[in-house]
Symmetry: C2
Subunit: 449 residues, 2 copies
């Protein structure tokens, strides 16, 4: 079969089942392709003709007179085989089948039929029963919701919602995704193909995978190891409980296997697994910004005493080392801050801290060779901290991880500034510390493997 990269680089798309009804996916997907800024040719196809979103529909694929690089199929399940056949005869090589009603509801014969047609005509298929594909380097949003913010994170998901949720969070926070791919029934393209694609994709810095069942565990581990050593791969695999495994069987007919086995494999082979959507996103974000490295020796710098204490507790429980500042460092910092600041670790600059104070203090403390990581907590609306951290990032060798809380509108604005420069920002101490902890653990395991 052909390489799947042509799916991502398509220069022309037909939407088969384009609809004028805004409630229908055939409308929404066409709308998102247009509003996502796709630069190639778009062919809306509806057998009844008509106009959708100001575009005249073709009554069939043939009528378009072209051979689109990609078709997006949103027609009733019984109409999918004929659609695929027509496309195959025209020479189409990539299809995203959003339509459901196949193996997932027991229509195995219909699913076999489309597999056969695809093989006969060498069509690569994503789906059926999937939420489509987003690839922002090609301004391609053949999915929903519209996630058009481009960034370094890629998501491969057996759940449309979980892929969408990560995309929404990334977009809301001034980050973005390179791609989001919904796996659906995996009749052809599966997680392995996609991990391989994103691992080799220069637009992608880190990859998240939500997966319910692995068809080929050994091949998965082999590939995940090989690709994960190129590029961070974070995996969320549910089914930790009997109840979860039963639900997996109902959802995607997957056998999820015992979670202890999977967790053991992750540990053994240096794969990074997340326990929740929140952790999946937090790690994906952290690893899109930060190369896994020594991060164990931490200095906390805060304007909020309370938040600093919470972070200190979390660091201690995570096995991280709160570095003791040398007397020279303490002396030098004290020369640059008001007397009431507490120059220990956590360094508490108190409520009247400014962006400049943070910048000065961290650049002094960065001379300490024992420090790997600055956990910087902004506990008030402090304007200008975004730019200050961006300057620092280029000057110091340590990693910067930010926690921002209590900052209202200023927090939202400054977070975007930092995210755009690849500095990860978390909304609470425990989430920031957990990311440091997981990266440290992962670096250790990876070295051993």
């Amino acid at each position: 079969m052909s390489d799947i990269s042509s799916l991502f680089s398509a220069k022309s798309i037909a939407v088969i089942g384009a609809s004028a009804n805004p409630q229908k996916l055939g409308h929404l997907v066409l709308k998102n392709i247009i509003e996502g800024g796709f630069k190639g040719k778009i062919y809306p196809v509806n057998q009844k003709g008509g106009t959708v979103l100001g575009m005249s529909c073709y009554k069939s694929l043939k009528e378009t007179g072209g051979v689109p690089d990609l078709i997006v199929v949103i027609v009733p399940n019984w109409a999918v085989p004929a659609t695929l056949k027509e496309a195959g005869e025209l020479g189409v090589r990539n299809a995203i089948i959003i339509s459901g009603g196949f193996g997932e509801v027991g229509n195995n014969d219909l699913e076999e039929e489309i597999i056969d047609i695809a093989q006969q005509y060498s069509i690569r298929i994503l789906g059926p029963n999937c939420q489509g594909l987003i690839y922002n380097p090609n301004s391609l949003c053949a999915s929903w919701p519209l996630i058009s913010a481009n960034g370094g994170m890629a998501v491969i998901s057996q759940s449309g919602t979980i892929g969408a949720e990560i995309g929404i969070r990334a977009q809301d926070e001034g980050l973005g995704v390179s791609g989001i791919v919904s796996l659906g029934n995996k009749t052809d393209i599966n997680e392995l193909d996609l991990i391989e694609f994103f691992a080799n994709d220069p637009n992608t810095a880190s990859i998240a995978l939500y997966i319910e069942g692995l068809k080929d565990g050994k091949r998965f581990i082999d590939l995940a190891r090989r690709m994960g050593s190129k590029k961070p791969l974070v995996i969320l695999k549910p089914g930790r409980s009997e109840a979860g495994r039963e639900a997996v069987a109902s959802h995607t007919c997957s056998l999820s296997g015992k979670s202890e086995v999977f967790e053991g494999l992750c540990k053994q082979y240096g794969l990074l697994n997340a326990k929740s959507v929140t952790e999946l996103y937090d790690l994906l974000k952290g690893l899109s910004c930060i190369q896994p490295a020594e991060m164990e020796n931490v200095v906390i710098v805060t304007s909020s005493g309370g938040s600093g204490i919470l972070a200190a507790d979390e660091c201690a429980e995570a096995g991280l080392n709160l570095v003791r500042l040398t007397s020279d460092t303490v002396k030098e910092i004290k020369e640059h801050v008001p007397e009431h600041c507490v120059i220990k670790n956590p360094i508490d600059l108190t409520g009247d801290a400014t962006a400049l104070m943070y910048e000065n203090v961290i650049s002094k403390a960065a001379k300490d060779p024992n420090v790997d990581t600055f956990l910087v907590i902004f506990g008030d609306p402090i304007p200008g901290v975004g730019e200050a951290m961006c300057r620092l990032k280029d000057q110091i060798k340590q990693k910067l991880i930010i926690c921002f809380l209590g900052g209202g509108d200023v927090q939202v604005e400054e977070t975007v500034v930092m995210h755009r420069s690849g500095i990860p920002v978390y909304p609470s101490p425990e989430r920031a510390v957990n990311v440091i902890k997981r990266i440290v653990e992962h670096s250790k395991i990876s070295q051993e493997v």
Copy 2:
């Protein structure tokens, strides 16, 4: 000493240290009092006179010709004693001292001096070194940031940032707070006075407390028990680690004591403790909506198979019981939903679920006497679910807890609708399940105590 309720019900306020400089707290606090919609008389006082925010400043408190119910003091530390004395002589009975530079930086004599003056003139003092007070039933925001959304949650905090953060989250999510009080150095009014006030306050449904050190542990436990049985009280107390306890000593000179002791006391006396800001907010929100009750027997209803599985795992690990639906219930539900829906627990209505489908299915399942709680997961932008859940809430005896993800703008809008009707909404399965788990555990302990 007088009751502290007059602090909250003040009908006239003087801001001493009002400033025309927008960078200064003396500006920000006056601005927030005005923009918060305070309906009483406001006297800006600045010894140099001048105009602030369009108001002429009085050069002294005496010059105002009135006796304000409350003064907010934002002057340099050395000027605080004279200010208090002048106020005391005029007959002022309540003071919020935002100015810092007292006991927290070793100026113990200055702190003693203001304590003496306050006692001499019977002035109740909040602070010094605090972030002020918000009380929305009186449209009073003598603090920052501006949190003017009124609601059932109260926050008492020894960290200004943590109080602010909870207020911001509540306001952003369409909820609100009755009050936020920053404790500061606790020279007079302390957490016990405030717990007592909010426990008796008809405008408050649940109380959060962030506290670093307890001066009188026994009195605290007695009161927290007594008040907590009236109204849910959630406590976040850092200092679980040695590093955390050292940081506590630097921040508020408190002795935080071993966390095991505190956690043991919580268990023994049925107090609810949180481990992080996120959990503090999640529990506070849940308990402002839901009376602690039987919640152990859960049915999950979802449009996102993946999110339902994650929730099932979390429920199993939390020791909650995923109720097995009776065959009658299954049969009745199946009559009202498309064939491809999975009617087990989790009930998976799949990606084309509508608000009406959710409403129908839950009202059928609610007839099952074994169900205590519906964990309802919306995994797409589904319009109208807010109103549907509000209707359901009035019809069924079970508790409703919502998880909403992957819903973009629709999610934001519908979340506000549900919050305004007292239905708690969480952004991920693990956070929703954790709230159910903690309320269940708490109900059991409370019954035993």
